[in-house]
């Protein structure tokens, strides 16, 4: 097709928005970009970023990476394996405890189970627990039960309690109400409604979420040792402090392998429990 004569004037008259966009609309995107970059530059200055410091740090980092090769546990391999076992234990126990305690509370936070007046404070309570990082909970529990993996279990349990409470209650809100009505119609009590109407629907979803959290908590559990709550993070922080870089890289490799293994196993289990489609 050859070039066509287009009547620009007519098109302009027909689509004024495209040709004559108001200045506010045209400037919105650039203004946002400028503002974002402005804050970014301000941040760089305020946080003491200087090119020379950055370069010095990078060369230092280069040295550190050189010293990390090859990863070598020295003679501490048994200790590290034990620490890894501790980490996995913390993740498994903490998540399970959180799930057990969150299930009844999540019922109180679900719109279709309790009235709004009760729901609101429960929700805010769960939000506040979630707003506090796991590491902070670990510090609090260390004050209560002392240093060691037990504090880690309790820290994971508390911070996951907040997350599970929200996720479970959303699962319950998403459940089909018809089953519950059926139970009610046949004369079941409120407890029966929950046990036979809601639970069969939400348990597979919840089981999938719990497995997923065990997976992601393996990651969290590797770090709570940094504040003294047991597991492999404790070893990692110690070795970094004494600059034993070969041991550090070995420990990081151990964490990577452990996380990958847990990912694999729990992925398989999740498929088995709720089927491939529900996970994706």
């Amino acid at each position: 097709m050859g070039p066509q004569k287009v009547d620009t004037a007519e098109i302009r008259a027909r689509y004024p928005d495209v040709f004559e966009r108001p200045a506010s609309a045209r400037l919105a995107t650039p203004a946002m970009i400028v503002a974002a970059l402005g804050i970014f530059m301000y941040g760089l200055v305020d946080l003491d970023f200087s090119p020379s410091r950055f370069a010095a740090g990078l060369s230092q980092l280069g040295w550190i990476s050189m010293m990390m090769i090859p990863p070598d546990p020295g003679t501490s391999l048994p200790i590290y394996l034990k620490a890894l076992g501790e980490t996995l234990s913390i993740a498994l126990l903490g998540t399970t405890l959180a799930a057990i305690f969150a299930l009844p509370v999540s019922l109180l936070a679900a719109r279709n189970v309790v009235p709004n007046i009760l729901r609101f404070p429960v929700r805010r309570f769960l939000d506040s627990i979630r707003g506090v990082d796991t590491l902070i909970w670990a510090l609090v529990w260390i004050n209560v039960v002392g240093l060691g993996p037990f504090a880690g279990v309790l820290a994971i349990a508390v911070s996951d309690f907040g997350a599970f409470g929200k996720l479970f209650s959303e699962a319950i809100e998403g459940a089909d109400q018809k089953q519950v009505e059926g139970i009610r119609a046949s004369g079941g009590s409120a407890l029966h409604e929950i046990r036979f109407g809601l639970m069969p629907q939400v348990l597979p979803v919840i089981a999938g979420q719990v497995l997923y959290f065990i997976e992601s908590n393996t990651r969290s559990a590797t770090i709570i040792g940094i504040v003294g709550a047991g597991g492999i993070g404790l070893q990692l922080a110690e070795q970094i402090r004494v600059l034993e870089w070969q041991k550090v890289s070995f420990l990081i490799l151990m964490i990577l392998v452990a996380v990958a293994a847990i990912d694999f196993i729990s992925g398989k289990l999740r498929f088995a429990i709720i089927g491939r489609r529900a996970v994706a």
Partner: protein, 294 residues
């Protein structure tokens, strides 16, 4: 009441009943077996994690009284009776909180920029070559599997104490996390525009710029905002290892038993996290409509 359903002959009923109870028994047995394995794993974990119920019960009072203590001023009265005294350090703490927000902002933006550059190589449909895709994927995986605070610990030694280490740690972790999510968005993008642009003889770069980017920016921004939310929480503990932000104040207050300061700082962190959650949620809704949030 009359029985409306006719009952099957005895013999047929018996076989059906037997088959049913057998099926139920098999399911029950499997459930029981699963529960037993799970319980055994828990028991093993309890031993591994040195769980001591006695300690918990004797010291559980401490947990409750800890909250009692952090909600009490030095003078002995409750914190909310004298807010001025409770939040005495609010100027300093607000400044530290501002630093925390800046750390997460700069870290998230840097991470998002890196993720933006890398994700086209990581997505199956746009990657120029398989080996490059493999390398980038492994790199992103490494960046997101190693916890941010571990990077922070190492960076504190390389770059010195201060927020710089925190920013870099958050940037690396965000690159890994966002790179994966971004590349998933690209994999779901419509490939017809790419074909159209490639047919005009355009380079790979132009294909990305004019065919893919316009489709995916909304999704990118949405995920980046979500990441910012998570990073604010993460930045609040970066100070534990000396990488800047409010965490530094908090860890000092906890370790030195300045009880009312602990609750004051925690309150300010929680309120900040709330405000960030609500405002980014609002922003996401404004920018991309309700559906964009997945």
């Amino acid at each position: 009441m009359t029985i409306a359903v006719s009952i099957l002959p005895e013999q047929q009923l018996a076989t059906l009943n037997a088959a049913y109870s057998q099926a139920v028994a098999r399911r029950r047995w499997r459930l029981l077996f699963g529960a037993a394995v799970f319980a055994a794993a828990l028991l093993l974990a309890a031993v591994g994690a040195e769980v001591n119920l006695r300690t918990l019960f004797t010291h559980f009072g401490n947990f409750v009284s800890y909250f009692d203590r952090i909600l009490t001023l030095d003078g002995g009265q409750r914190v909310w009776t004298d807010v001025g005294e409770w939040l005495w350090g609010w100027r300093k703490w607000l400044k530290m909180l501002g630093e925390t927000l800046l750390i997460s902002y700069v870290g998230t933006l840097t991470g998002a920029a890196f993720a933006f550059c890398l994700n086209f190589f990581a997505a199956e449909n746009t990657s120029p070559s398989p080996w490059l895709r493999f390398v980038v994927l492994r790199l992103l995986e490494f960046a997101r599997t190693v916890p941010g605070i571990v990077f922070a610990l190492i960076f504190v030694i390389a770059f010195g104490l201060g927020p710089m280490a925190g920013v870099l740690a958050i940037a690396i972790h965000s690159t890994g996390a966002l790179g994966k999510l971004f590349s998933e968005i690209v994999e779901n993008a419509d490939m017809k525009p790419v074909e159209g642009i490639r047919s005009t003889g355009a380079s790979w770069l132009s294909c990305m710029r004019f065919a893919i980017v316009p489709q995916v920016t909304a999704g990118y921004a949405s995920y980046a905002l979500l990441r910012f939310e998570i990073n604010v929480r993460e930045a609040s503990v970066m100070g534990f290892v000396g990488a800047g932000g409010i965490g530094q104040e908090l860890v000092v207050a906890i370790r030195k038993f300045y009880y009312s300061d602990v609750s004051a700082i925690l309150l300010m962190i929680i309120v900040t996290v709330f405000i960030i959650d609500i405002s980014t949620g609002w922003l996401r809704g404004r920018l991309f409509g309700k559906e964009a949030r997945t």
